[in-house]
Amino acid sequence: MKNSRRLFLKSACAVVVGASGYTIAKSSTETAVIDGKKYALVHDETKCIGCDACSVACREVNLVPEGVSRLKIEREGPYGEYPDQYFRFTRKSCQQCEDTPCVKVCPTGAAYKDPETGIVSVDAWKCVGCQYCIAACPYQVRFINPVTHAADKCDFCKETRLKEGRQPACVSACPTKALTFGDLKDPESNIVKVLKSAPNYRSKTELGTRPKVFRIASREGEVTL
């Protein structure tokens, strides 16, 4: 009796460890084997003038309700002495990570990465609104859409402009051509040319998220240590 219970506990523990270990090992070795596109975006901060044409266009095209936003331009400054003054503008929107914290934590699979385009999207019907993805996103760009009550965020206009075969709303709205959108897998694409011609950076790469929004840095506002 006593021995059988001990044996049972041991084998049950072994099963639990084995099953969870298998899941973790499987998920870490899984690599993207899809032959689809890898859409990405470059924000050239040296060209950005902070006019907000992009965020206005985004709201109109994707019917984003007031009070929430898929895209924001954050302004720092002004730096320097008059007349040589300038601002720094940074884009706050979904970073379209390759290693997606939001998709990993979503309990229903409502947050998913589209295998055809590499775009991270939300299935509003599957979403139950647990807000785990909102907490898991280190870029803090997800929000609950007050109309659908589902999690929402930038999807490179996948459901709107890309379906019409056009560029994302923010890209076509930008008056200074600060935004470049395209397929990273196509060596002839504009985005690959831009990325090869200018040094660029991505936000919070130390977290292992491998974002697909690249930035070309503007002049530093101030030296910070």
């Binding site: 934590v105 309990p107 979403c127 139950v128 609104g129 647990c130 009550h149």
Partner: protein, 313 residues
């Protein structure tokens, strides 16, 4: 920074209550199993403490799940969590554990209360008799499963938060252990408080047994809290800022030092040691000690949840 409203705050107090209740349920049933196995045996169902634990475990897990569902932005779509699974999501795995846990919990309760239930039925429903006999035959397996599931549930409440890379204080390997151990201690406290309220003997063998386990548990909890914060401070960067924001001056600093360290851990430890030394246990001693422990764990859940979300990586 206001203690309950700040930038980056996603999960509010309902989640803290849910984490607390899940821990209480897992802890209470663990102690019920230990009491039955080591002290009470076949007569377990007569003990007020077993009765208390067996009431607390299902009620708190139901209440916790209820709060969790109401906290969704689409409460009526909660069934989608049960239908769609994602193996990489801690929440999804946790929901699976919770479902199986409840099945094992009721199977075990049926085994423990087989005798009174059968007496009450008085042979009226042969189906109930057959079902209970069948379950009782597998009691060792059910007990083993339930122990593993209860410990998994306790640890899950910590893994749920530690999976969030956004917040360096939560994304911490010590957190699941801390929540498991503090969940066990809240379960012990709930069992003791409920037991004496249900007319259990405050100087009975159940109380002696639980108090003997509670002392090392409180010591381990203190060590884990120390490791948790020293680990964050040594990591430097945002982790260090997160730790110092949490336990430094301000509302949550008071909650941590006064509410968790003093009222939640030091006082119960002192009371337990005193009761062990004087070997006199009265209703008021047991009830006050247990209330302090419960309050401490409840504050710990809120403290970790809120201060954890204050600093972003």
């Amino acid at each position: 920074m206001s203690p309950f409203h700040f930038d980056g705050l996603v999960w509010h107090w309902p989640i803290a209550i849910y984490l607390f209740l899940a821990g209480v349920s897992a802890g209470a049933i663990t102690f019920a199993i230990l009491l039955k196995h080591f002290k009470l045996g076949k007569n377990a169902h007569k003990s007020g403490f077993i009765q208390a634990a067996c009431l607390i475990a299902p009620l708190s897990v139901f209440a916790g799940l209820g709060i969790l569902v109401l906290d969704l932005t689409k409460p009526f779509d909660f069934w989608k969590i049960l239908v769609f699974y994602n193996a990489t999501s801690v929440m999804s795995v946790g929901v699976a554990v919770l479902m199986i846990y409840q099945v094992a919990l009721f199977a075990w309760l049926a085994c423990v209360f087989k005798e009174p239930v059968l007496n009450w039925c008085n042979g009226r429903w042969p189906l109930v008799t057959r079902l209970l006999n069948a379950l009782a035959k597998h009691e060792p397996s059910i007990t083993g499963f339930l122990t593993i599931l209860a410990l998994s549930l306790g640890a899950y409440t910590g893994f749920l938060l530690s999976a969030l890379t956004t917040y360096p204080m939560l994304n911490n390997p010590v957190l699941p252990l801390l929540f498991l151990i503090s969940g066990l201690s809240s379960g012990a406290a709930g069992t003791l408080l409920g037991g004496v309220l249900l007319k259990g003997n405050p100087d009975g063998k159940e109380v002696h047994f639980i108090h003997n386990i509670e002392i090392p548990i409180i010591l381990v909890e203190l060590v884990l809290l120390f490791t948790f914060f020293i680990g964050l401070i040594i990591s430097g960067g945002q982790s260090k800022i997160a730790a110092l924001t949490a336990i430094g001056e301000g509302f949550w600093g008071w909650v941590f030092w006064g509410g968790i360290i003093i009222v939640g851990l030091s006082l119960p430890l002192a009371f337990n040691l005193f009761m062990k030394a004087s070997s006199k246990r009265k209703f008021s001693y047991v009830a006050i000690t247990a209330s302090c422990s419960l309050l401490g764990v409840f504050l710990l859940r809120n403290f970790i949840l809120y201060t954890g979300q204050m600093t972003v990586a």
